[in-house]
Amino acid sequence: MSGIVWHILAFGVIGIFLAVTVYRTVAIARLPVHLRWELAPIPHEKGKGKYGGSYLEEYEWWTKTRQRSRIAPLVYMVVEIFLLRGIWKRNRPLWPLTFAFHAGIYLVTAMLLFSLVSSILIITEAPPYVINVFQEIASVLAVAGYLMGGLGAIALLFKRALDSNLRPFNTTTKYFNLVLLGAVFISGAYAWFNLGDFAAEMSLFIRGLITLDTGLTIAFSLSLHIIISLLFLLYLPWTDMIHFVAKYFTYHEVRWNDAPQDEKMKRELRGLLAQPVSWSAAHVGADGKKNWVDLTKKKTKDEEA
């Protein structure tokens, strides 16, 4: 394949991936403020987060300044994202499988970053030993990531297919997602073992992309891996696998959202309460015109009489 095709493919897919991901993220973020529905533990509660307490424990809490920790939620999320604390705590048998799988994703992502840096170093003609260091690290990250991710994907596939707890809930989509991501890892591992120096090839490929080099050529095993990876990246943002975005909102905007009303929220709430309601049950008393405030004011039988 000529360089131009690679440029179109790679930048096209990355562009679509970013656009769809941003679109979906913004769509979630722009949903209206909802009623409070917090759930303990809330780590930003200073001194109380550990046992799950909240500022509501304080006597006349509205007279006190809220003590919020910025670091604790961050630590909580880092441990949750990278070590899968929830699964470790509540579903230990699943943990090694899903940890390997997710670690694979993180390691491969890190490998791409190192390869990107090393390709920039190549372009800027940095000393070869510096480039070498980055490529050595990328190479280790690559093989570790591909193997862990590949094993994780295969193990999860078997788990899904065989575990009687999971099986009734499986859909073809769930299997397909695992197969596709498994193929990314396995094709990567194949390329790594097939090529003499995977990391160098990868850096050169990325350099070719960045410099728009039309003479860009790559080995078959690597191009197979890159095509599968690009297909995955194209598919990813349309699926529930972008839970890495959703998770921010389920934690920060729902579980941990214990904010009392502030000025901005008050303005938004006034707009929301002014919306017409059209629920059909008789007791609601909606007619498509009356809004939330009108319905809340609906008189009791006594007052009507």
Binding site: R36, Y51, L166, D302
Partner: protein, 536 residues
Amino acid sequence: MKKLKLTDIAKGGDSQLIDIDVDELVPLPPPYDKAEEFPGFKQLTEDQRERLVCNLDGVVSYAALPKPKNKAEEKKYVKQFISGLKKLLSKENNWTFLQPLLLSLDYCAQCQTCCDACPIYLGSGKNDLYRPTYRPEIFRRLVNKYIKPGGKLRAKLTGADIDLNWTTITRLYELSYRCNLCRRCTQACPMGVDNGLITRELRKLFSQELGWAPKELHEKGTMLQLDVGSATGLRPNVAIDNLKFLDEEFTESTGINVSTPWDKKGADILLIHSAGDIISFPESPIAFTILCNAAGLSWTLSSEIPGYDGINYGVFYDDVQLARVATRHAQIAKKLGVKKIVMGECGHQNKALMTVADRMLTRELNIPRENVMTFLENLVFSGKVKFDPTKNDFPVTLHDPCNLVRNMGVVEPQRRILRYLCPEFREMTPHGIENYCCGGGGGLSVMSDVNFTDWKVNVAGRMKFKQVLEAFADHPGPEIEKYLCAPCLNCKLQFRDVFEYYGAKEKSNLIFGGMGELIVNAMAIMKKPFLSWEEE
């Protein structure tokens, strides 16, 4: 035990989906381990099977669910269900929970981690029907199939195809009342998906669109409360009259002047009990009267509709009713000119007014509100009341009401009180924010239609009862008096049913009650115990 597929929900018409076998439920410790010694489930009569919709598990929680006469009528209900689904996903009709709902619909990874967190699923001996994932996943697939573009084709292609018919919707209705909304599953979900919320949304769809809701929560719940003042049917004059009667009774029995203030304009504190406490557990409101007076607080009750019944069942099934009740409570406080509202010992009541309805109470209605445990803690440690903790020299354990603890983060105030006033206080396992629900959460504790109570005492309340017994494993027999502190009316109602069913008073000398009673019992001024293990 029968293995269930998700698609089974739509199949089999009016026939029952599963049978509950009491021998498969999780075993209880002795002397409660012999299922045959207890009444078990009341089987439905032939007549009931004829008249009622009973196609789920042989338990019926709502006898008035309509039974369609023909296919056309069935279709009408199915259409209404779909229109309700659409409204549930619209900003105008459901801004209140749209974001949490969409997040919970779209991002479940099907890892089943939450199952082992659910006390109903565990108590049932892991019955597939009661998985916290079963009902939400059906709901998800119905949304994906019937609401999203291209959904029907995609459902066929991906093997996620569930039919929406009369059987599906009636089973879903009944199944939405096999959950305590305790959100232990939500806490266990690494993704932050809220299967408890989905259950509540489902109840909401049925209530707000089809007008289907349990009689005890709706017709004789919020509707009656907004109409006459209380879901118990207690009218303002009768409420005042009852408390006057109780004031006199307790003045006589305690030797302390017990006098409950009503409708005092300009008082600092409006205290809102549940009317059910006044009627069924009068020691609780009286304990508050004794404590508030002893501490010299400026406080009052309100006799304005519905200011003497703080319950808000809307939080269990209907946002409009939730808003109506909460607004009324706030309006009453505003009229009285109080500085803060304190809710009585009732978990959902505290949660409804303090957090869930917070964003519905705009402008001058947003009056400061304090939870009952913090209020009591401040009172106990204020130094204004003298205590003698040796008076509480019996084993005490603490039940954590889900709404107050897991859902509001009020964990330590009640423990600081117990560690001070109850030398033999011990925790259950697990406790605090990881507690098990009493089994009556989500409004279930007040529901008792047909044979629903049998399900509550056998399945929903099972893990809790087991846990309570284990907390007293050092004194299992009736020789030693034991106290289960359950600072929530709904939890107490559930414990009353469970204790009665299993004979916990006779077999274990175990009683339950609130926190206020325990505090008053330790007051130095009390000449004789406020708590009694003997029935009058």
